[in-house]
Subunit: 650 residues, 2 copies
């Protein structure tokens, strides 16, 4: 039986072919087919139910995640899912759990840093899940600074073993997902010490728990680090702590692709290029970018649909109120986020391609700014839903809670932004050398032009000219970078200058990163796209994305003279017109993400827009509604009402 579609009027308004846009969003028809099929497979399986996560206690939630994981693994085997299908299953399951770390960090660490022999041995165990691994790097008081780790691995040549040890409480491993209660093994990072010499941090494969009864091995203390942000959310994960008391492992469990220790305790570095072994890091950064795009697109789906359902004000004489999505203020906040979701989807695609090219891998850190922008976007979407966005069943609180750690994992993003800034300073300093900049910095090859050019925008429509938009972003980024380089050159001590100017350097790095996103979006709209009206929509989204950034960072553009106040005002004018053009297509543009109601997990974002009756249904499920008179009435409410005292007011 079909339910009424409360959003059907919205869907009829669309001026483009949604099915074609779905394929563009997915990346290819094949990718769309897989996602579509697997997401529906997950949605209809009762084991993957997730609407009850908020009311579960930590232990229940954790056990429920173990159940889902075991079930997923069973499905993968029974249905003989391909790697691609299995990844999608994990994705649509939408529950953080130990598998993320086993497949996402443990296995890639061995692939990247293990010798062929080590890979053969350990990957065969890991790929069949005979062992479950995690990635034990960060310590209680050591996050971003890997070189500051305190855990030691001291070589004992007599027994041909390493002694892994936690010398202090602060050296306890802290945070690794899957460590607290599940993992049987870990890749542990520790300072390698041979013959009294400290060779810095290296990776070791360490067994933590018995494969018979799961109890921690002697010398290992391990547990969960406690409750985290949000109901549900990452509380399904056993992020753990781990301490070693003189724990011994065989010499061949040091990951030796990059450097090794001989039987005699001699430290030998290999000639494998370091870039090749950054597999784990690269994997993580790529995941951060794709999860940024996913999380934002989910939040935007919810906020867009609910903005079309919700009505406020605007009625006269008791008539029907105005749809919230018709307010300019709502459009001004929502539509740039919708455009960002598309922008980051396309950057993500390009990044995937970039990662296949080893020499360009390090540019990954250009995207340090993504997580912040997206956490902001999710919270903004929550607010765009009004008060109901604060209900757990809106899906937005959990989305935020699951997503925000992206702003701090891999260390503080500022650290990454400063890395980008260093790279930009280096590129600028080499400009005179005749070596043309390539990749994301190739625009710096036009330095002379970009330092002098004046934007030729004369009327609002000029802001729909890709060349003019791009030039404004290039001029702004380049001038900020050059200005930093000049200020830096006035310091005698480069490091001190870098520290003193770090806030400016971060801003220059952000400008550079935004330019790249804009330029990749422009590349996308200049390429071939199939489907009725699709290209027109992508163009609108692209210019909304670029012009809202121009507005948001107007200070940068004006202070570098990249645009004039009049040109900025024309851009705002154009932006308002683009919002009006986007409006009738808004709901269809989020339909193109093809998310199931199960995956969205939001009463407000339901495909059919049937929000209000379902909010009631959800409310009635809360355990607090098990009884009409609440537990505690006899003890704490009745005596209060019945005591008949006169007293001070509270």
């Amino acid at each position: 039986m079909e339910e009424t579609d409360h959003l059907s009027d919205e869907r009829k308004k669309a001026e483009f072919d949604v099915d074609d846009m779905k394929i563009i969003w997915a990346g290819s028809r094949h990718a769309f087919d897989v996602s579509n099929r697997i997401s529906r497979l997950v949605a209809k399986d009762p084991v993957f139910e997730k609407s009850n996560r908020a009311v579960m206690r930590r232990k229940e939630l954790f056990k429920n995640t173990l159940r889902k994981t075991a079930h997923a693994w069973k499905m993968i085997n029974e249905l003989r899912l391909s790697d691609e299908e299995a990844l999608k299953l994990k994705f649509f399951m939408d529950q953080p759990g130990f598998l993320d770390l086993h497949w996402g960090m443990f296995v890639p660490a061995i692939e990247g840093q293990g010798t062929e022999e080590q890979q053969q041995k350990w990957l065969s165990l890991a790929n069949t899940m005979q062992i479950i691994g995690c990635y034990a790097q960060t310590e209680l008081s050591h996050g971003s600074n890997v070189q500051g780790l305190e855990t030691t691995a001291t070589f004992d040549s007599q027994k041909d073993q390493f002694i892994i040890h936690s010398p202090t409480q602060t050296s306890s491993k802290w945070w690794p997902g899957g460590l607290g209660k599940v993992s049987t093994h870990a890749v542990v990072y520790a300072r390698l010490i041979t013959n009294g010499k400290d060779h810095g941090v290296h990776g070791f494969i360490v067994q933590l728990r018995s494969l018979d009864d799961h109890s921690p091995l002697p010398g290992i203390t391990v547990g969960d680090i406690g409750t985290k942000f949000g109901n549900g959310a990452y509380n399904s994960m056993d992020n753990g702590f781990l301490m070693f008391d003189q724990f011994r492992i065989p010499r061949d469990q040091m990951l030796m692709r990059l450097s090794k220790v001989t039987k005699e305790g001699k430290y030998v570095a290999s000639d494998v290029p370091r870039q090749l072994v950054y597999g784990t890091m690269v994997f993580v950064r790529q995941s951060i970018v794709s999860s940024a795009s996913n999380a934002l697109s989910r939040a935007v789906s919810i906020a867009t649909r609910y903005s079309a359902v919700r009505r406020q004000f605007g009625s006269h004489n008791g008539g029907i109120e105005t749809q919230v999505i018709d307010y300019k203020t709502q459009q001004h906040r929502l539509f740039p986020l919708l455009a960002s979701a598309y922008a980051f989807r396309f950057v993500g695609e390009w990044l995937k391609w970039l990662y296949t090219d080893v020499t360009q891998r390090l540019e990954a850190s250009d995207f340090a700014t993504l997580p912040e922008a997206h956490a902001y976007g999710i919270e903004e979407c929550r607010k765009l839903c009004g008060g109901h966005g604060y209900l757990w069943c809106s899906g937005l609180p959990e989305l935020f809670a699951v997503y925000v750690p992206a702003c701090t994992y891999e260390g503080d993003n500022v650290v990454l932004q400063l890395q980008v800034a260093r790279f930009l300073m280096k590129t600028v300093s080499q400009l005179g050398s005749g070596k043309a900049p390539t990749g994301t910095t190739s625009y710096m090859g036009k330095t002379q032009h970009l330092l002098q050019c004046r934007s030729s925008v004369r009327k609002a429509e000029d802001w729909l000219n890709p060349g003019m938009v791009l030039e404004a972003f290039e001029a702004r980024a380049l001038r900020m970078v050059v200005s930093c380089a000049k200020s830096l050159s006035k310091f005698e001590n480069q490091e001190q200058g870098f520290s003193e100017l770090s806030a400016n350097l971060v801003e220059a790095a952000i400008a550079h990163c935004q330019l790249i996103v804009v330029s990749k979006f422009i590349t996308k709209i200049e390429g071939e796209t199939k489907g009725k009206g699709v290209k027109k929509q992508l163009k609108n989204l692209c210019y909304i994305y670029a012009l809202h950034l121009l507005h948001k960072h107007l200070g940068d553009f004006l202070s570098t003279n990249s645009v004039t106040p009049e040109q900025a005002s024309l851009a705002n004018h154009q932006l308002r017109s683009l919002y009006s053009q986007l409006r009738p297509n808004a709901v269809a543009l989020v339909d193109a993400f093809d998310y199931t109601d199960h995956y969205l997990g939001s009463v407000l974002g339901r495909y059919d827009g049937n929000v209000y009756p379902k909010l009631f249904e959800e409310a009635l499920k809360d355990p607090l509604n098990d009884s009409v008179v609440p537990d505690g009435y006899r003890e704490y409410i009745r005596p209060l009402i019945k005591q008949h005292i006169r007293s001070a007011r509270l």
Copy 2:
């Protein structure tokens, strides 16, 4: 036994008298004494323990809140606390619960809108808590737009009663705190209908539950709306839904101060000025401002102390790492928030004074922008704590979850910002009339000057001149307001213009609001302040506050020509120097808030800085650590490891 103070070196660095600053923060010596005494009374009482909130189920958490409330009420009576002391007790208890609504909305609504007779009857019951009340205004699909409410109160002259009725599911009351499980009574807003005529929305006192057994009265359907954002947080509150099925109340339970219905069903408006009855709204807005300042100051305390404890990078040869608070990037993000906490404290003081003046009450909406700025600040503080800020025991997740609804209650803030904008447009339009603007808009009296003036800042130190700072903010606000007014005048239809330009109008309103905060801070530093070095610190904070706003909204200042790019660059230069001056005083400046560890509720923000051992203690309390081998191992982990299959990878 005294524990070691890990932050004692930081405290020694302070260049001012912290005890004197504590009094300035509190507002007076008396206010400090009360806060100090009551906060310690709460902290040492085991009933008020709150570190276990995250692991409680909803029902437990709710019952625990009832217990705390009953205990607080007992203390108030037994210790004969004054109103002021009782309010502080509630504040330091730090647990949202039904008392907030009873005292904060139910009682003020009767005070503001009830006749003297009604006040006599109902306040005597409410003040002794023989009845518990809440405030039932918003409905499932009606928030900000009070005039759109659907619930009806139809007068039946035969029985001299009103019939309260919910005609649709969407007219169900939804959100009122204390309604779901506790309140015996409510002030209910409904459309008054007499003799078939709709007189718009009015308030009625309605009994909901039996005073004998607490069961809902016939015709009343009531319950809890379900889980909200965060672990703990507002889940201790029974926000509720409420539907009426032809429910009858006596005529004299309509709140009749403003207008009444006679026995014959005649509707009579009184001549009481409407402003006098806005008590409830005013109370709520004032609370929003003070809770904004409180929440931000708590978050800043935590982030500042932990930034002094935490070390990252900067060591050479394994030496001690650099305190995170010494990094310029950290200072650039943290110190403006510290300055904001002070700025809003002083604005809050001024607002309290403003509320005593009825004619100025409506300016309250000028502060519509506060909640957003603060929610951002709390989240930024969480990120400034690195990964550990994501742990519940850091206190920051709950602070955020408790605080964010301030961004959406009272309706979307944009609605309030647009009210401010309307007021500003009206003020500008009257400028020619010879009526000098007063209050917060008095700067508009200098319109001619402010439209033409050029900032006379020539060197970085000029940005420490209060007149020059103020003029830049005045020029920016005025020029944005005037520019909006000009654009507006080009529209034939004013309402359409207002809608089209709403994004610009919101920005002008924000500029106006920021000017007020800056000007109130400047007033504070120009007044008398007692205590060694105190004034110097307040000055630094004031200029940090102003100059970081200038930097953040540079686009506004440049596009209105209120400053030049060169002057903006001098402001940044001055800002960096102010950060260095603030640095040695940072920890002492948050000590001045005088928050107990109980109130802060944060392992990272502990007064003694003994963070790491305490993180371990907290972790070990998590129920997931009750057993070493987790529940679910036999069912879901062991079979996985033991199944020995070869399969696709996930």
